[in-house]
């Protein structure tokens, strides 16, 4: 990540914030708008951040992962399912149900990660096709089980969606959350906080540990890694499974942290935007996070503009159309992927199976 990208990211985020402030400042003080938008930005960027981290682990080890979307979707579904099961079948109380849900979400993602590794490392299937298989499989399985378990007569839940255990509670970060006005930013739910911690943990792992050095070596030049006695296959498997765990956790955000319900296809392309964020972050954790925040900011703008609908000036009337604002993340994705903001350099062996 170079300073050009970071300044580009800062500029976009500032612009998005600026639009909302300039519309709403007569009603609400800019400081409050900015802090509340910042809080929303960080929160809604969570699945993108985790999805991008998933991509970082896989691709740094040389396995292209376009299955993030599917891994997330299955995380969202199985996490939710586990939480409901624990809550309504085993009568666990809310918190333990939710935590088991989070664990189940990660395991579901991890299982798909293992499948992706099996396809691309062991069977050397084209990795784009492998990823597509995962996406389709996840859509199919979650849609099918959702219908069978909840909406069919005579199914476990008897054609009726049981009461969901709710969402993970906010954690007020001590001291930080007590700061007036700005404190709001640090009032976040657990997966959002974990995601940020994981960004820095991944940065540390990738660039300062043996694990990271070997992972990067395998992604750059697997043969060279092989000649110094590194087991390319093992390293790739491990990282792709870790990538799956990350995406699964990102999926848990949807059903256990954001809203207490599951809908088919609810990840809605977030996995692909996460991939774009990773590319724009040049395959680095911190850069990917920064890029994920752009998309978070676009979404935060969309949410906040709804409060100020009446105040949007006539010449900006198009901003009243929420679908236009909703397009922003996708348009940003396309601009970013053209590479006009500096060249994206993937790991040299990204996507190539290793043949002895």
């Amino acid at each position: 990540m170079d300073w050009r990208r970071f300044s580009f990211i800062a500029l976009i985020i500032a612009t998005l914030f600026g639009i909302v402030v300039s519309i709403g400042h007569e009603q609400t003080s800019p400081a409050i708008i900015i802090t509340s938008m910042l809080a929303t930005t960080i929160a809604v960027a969570t699945p993108l951040t985790l999805g991008a981290l998933s991509g970082v682990y896989c691709e740094r080890a040389g396995v292209v992962n376009i299955g993030i979307e599917g891994m997330m979707l299955s995380g969202a579904f199985f996490g939710w399912l586990a939480a409901i099961y624990m809550n309504s079948v085993f009568n666990f109380s809310t918190m333990p149900s939710l935590l088991i849900g989070v664990l189940a979400a990660m395991l579901a993602g991890g299982a798909f990660g293992w499948l992706h590794a099996l396809l691309s490392v062991t069977f050397k299937v084209d990795q784009i096709i492998g990823g597509t298989v995962i996406n389709m499989l996840a859509i199919g399985i979650t849609g099918f089980l959702n219908r069978q378990l909840f909406f069919e007569k005579g199914s476990i839940f008897g054609g009726q969606v049981p009461h969901a255990p709710g969402v993970l509670p906010r954690i007020q970060l001590p001291i930080l959350a007590d700061i007036p006005v700005v404190g709001r930013v640090f009032d976040q739910q657990p997966i959002a906080i974990t995601a940020i911690l994981l960004v820095f943990l991944t940065h540390y792992i990738l660039f300062f540990t043996r694990w990271g050095l070997r992972t990067r070596a395998v992604g750059e030049h697997p043969r060279a890694a092989d000649t110094v006695g590194i087991n390319v296959r093992k390293v790739r498997y491990a990282n792709v499974i870790i990538g799956g765990l990350m995406a699964g956790l990102g999926g848990a955000y949807f059903t256990l942290e954001s809203v207490p319900s599951f809908e088919p296809l609810m990840t809605n392309g977030r996995g692909f935007i996460a991939l774009a964020a990773m590319i724009f972050g040049n395959w680095t954790p911190i850069g990917s996070w920064a890029a994920a925040l752009i998309f978070g900011a676009a979404q935060a703008m969309q949410i906040n503009l709804q409060f100020f609908r009446e105040m949007i000036p006539a010449q900006w009337a198009f901003l009243q159309q929420s679908y236009i604002v909703g397009l922003a993340p996708y348009i940003l994705t396309m601009i970013i992927l053209t590479g006009i903001i500096g060249k994206n350099v993937p790991p040299a062996a990204d996507g190539l199976p290793y043949e002895k």
Binding site: L213, A224, D226, G229, A348
Partner: protein, 526 residues
């Protein structure tokens, strides 16, 4: 008599369609330099890869210090104190020198201290993966090694920015860092400048004086006679003979390798050049850092002559050739090829104006390694007859041409459909040479055309280049081998710091004089 540190007994290895090693016996004594010679595809790299555990033999055993060993992975080989510098380097270009060296043998932050705490032992051993990498210790050890053996190196440099000669030192230190007692050097001198080769030999002698034993693979007979203690010659997967340099000479070694007498001197008639085929005027080119590397170069190549460009590597030859072939933009100047202005034109246009190009880096610019030989043969002109008719590739014609070329250029391969990455280094080179020499061209640019080739193939390719000249093709030859320049060229241009300092008739040129000019001596204006 000194002890035998490594002995290969009856090693046999078969690849689909090729018996790469056929009951090979080989032994290495303590502290010796044992040269391994052989034609392209004779099985030298295969034997070394087996010793290093990258390939596993079908038959035979490897005995180390008198004990039968069981090497199946590079890790095992490293354990036995074997280090290898591969024909195509095994370095990660985006990593620093230290990172490349420590990879696979990392020091962790607390390694120096006592046993790790309980939560990093037993089933929790994996937690150590997350320990901080200790770089300072590595840097220190690297500096120590580089002092000890006179291998000058900057531990913090990014490997991709280093010249090949220095990258090779990184490879050698990488092996020493793992306490290698047996060092395999697979064609280490093929990509080096004469000065770098001298350095390498000095380092090799230093190493053997400290008890390291070296296996040295090369195609250059002079080098072998200069440094080796013993010489083993392989042909078609078998060991032909082991000799000592005192009782041998270049001619004898060449015939042992190839199985017939080889002409080591080039035999050519005087040239009869006609009009210009290439005119370059005041060409300026910048490199990737935007520095001027070709600074106002003007010269011409006539039909039916060979112009050799002599120069120490890194004086702008690479960029000059890239600019002429359309691979790199020019800053200013003019390039006229066969009457057509091709300045800054894309490679397709330059190729269609009649250019044949043997690039310097065969793996990066010469071949698509994942394609079979057939596809690489039609790579430049796949859309023209005989390879194509309208929109369709004429596979029959492609196969036919490929078969003919494989035969004519003696490419050692079981079939024309073998993926080029599986060919031996020299045979990959032959595929490129075959493609470029067999097309009807006006100008041939040959950059290191015989790099990594055995004497037999060099003889053949030299003959072909001269035959092309005699058919009226202009040839621009760039080579790091002064001998090659001297024996092939009709005229010689000397390049120094991006400028052509002088152009002389090859008949009047001497090694010594060229050497001086290449080092920057000013020619007297006559």
């Amino acid at each position: 008599m000194t002890a035998t540190v490594l002995q290969a007994k009856g090693i046999t290895k078969e690849f689909p369609g090729v018996l790469a090693n056929d009951h090979v016996d080989f032994d290495l004594r303590e502290g010796e330099i044992h040269a391994l010679l052989g034609e392209n595809g004779a099985g030298k790299s295969t034997l070394m890869n087996i010793i290093y555990g990258l390939y596993n033999q079908d038959e035979g055993e490897i005995i180390i210090n008198g004990q039968p060993s069981n090497i199946t992975t590079p890790n095992d080989a490293i354990e036995y104190g074997i280090g290898m510098v591969h024909q195509h380097f095994m370095l990660i270009p985006v990593f620093r020198v230290t990172e490349n060296i420590m990879l696979g043998a990392e020091t962790l932050h607390r390694d120096k201290n006592r046993t790790p705490p309980f939560w990093k032992r037993g089933i929790f051993e994996w937690v150590r993966q997350l320990d901080f990498l200790e770089r300072r210790a590595v840097t220190k050890k690297v500096s120590e090694l580089s002092h000890q053996y006179g291998l000058d190196i900057d531990p913090d440099a990014i490997v991709g920015d280093l010249p090949v000669g220095v990258q090779q030192r990184v490879e050698i230190i990488k092996a020493l860092y793992r306490n290698a007692k047996i060092l395999i050097l697979d064609e280490p001198s093929a990509v080096l400048t004469p000065q770098e080769v001298e350095d390498l030999f000095r380092i090799m002698r230093e190493l053997t004086s400290r008890g390291v034993s070296i296996i040295f693979i090369t195609h250059k007979l002079k080098e072998v006679l200069a440094v080796a203690d013993r010489i083993t010659v392989m042909r078609a997967g078998k060991v032909v003979d082991t000799v000592i340099p005192e009782e041998s000479n270049e001619q004898k070694l060449a015939s042992l390798m190839v199985g017939r007498d080889v002409l080591l001197k080039v035999d050519k008639k005087t040239a009869h050049p006609k009009g210009d085929v290439l005119t370059v005027s005041d060409l300026r080119v910048v490199d990737h850092r935007k520095l001027d590397v070709v600074r106002g170069v003007s010269f011409n190549v006539r039909r039916g002559e060979i112009l050799g460009i002599a120069g120490v590597q890194g004086n702008g030859q690479t960029e000059l050739i890239e600019a002429l072939t359309g691979l790199r933009p020019t800053r200013s100047g003019k390039v006229i090829l066969a009457g057509k202005d091709v300045t800054g034109k894309p490679p397709r246009v330059v190729t269609e104006a009649g250019l044949g190009h043997i690039p310097e880096d065969r793996q990066r610019h010469g071949l698509v390694l994942s394609y079979p030989i057939t596809d690489n043969i039609m790579l430049c002109t796949y859309y023209l007859p005989p390879f194509a008719k309208g929109f369709t590739i004429q596979q029959k014609a492609v196969d036919e041409v490929t078969r003919q070329l494989i035969k004519a250029f003696d490419v050692r391969t079981p079939s024309p459909f073998v993926i080029t990455s599986k060919l031996s280094g020299g045979n990959q080179q032959k595929v490129i040479v075959a493609r470029e020499l067999s097309r009807p061209v006006n100008l041939l640019i040959a950059n290191q055309p015989t790099r990594g080739l055995d004497v037999g193939s060099i003889e053949y390719i030299h003959k072909e280049i001269i035959a092309m000249r005699d058919r009226g093709v202009g040839v621009l030859l760039v080579s790091a081998e002064l001998d090659e320049i001297l024996s092939l060229s009709d005229r010689i241009a000397v390049i120094y710091r991006g400028e052509i300092v002088t152009t002389v008739d090859a008949k009047d040129a001497t090694r010594e004089q060229l050497g001086l000019w290449m080092a920057g001596a000013k020619p007297e204006s006559a």
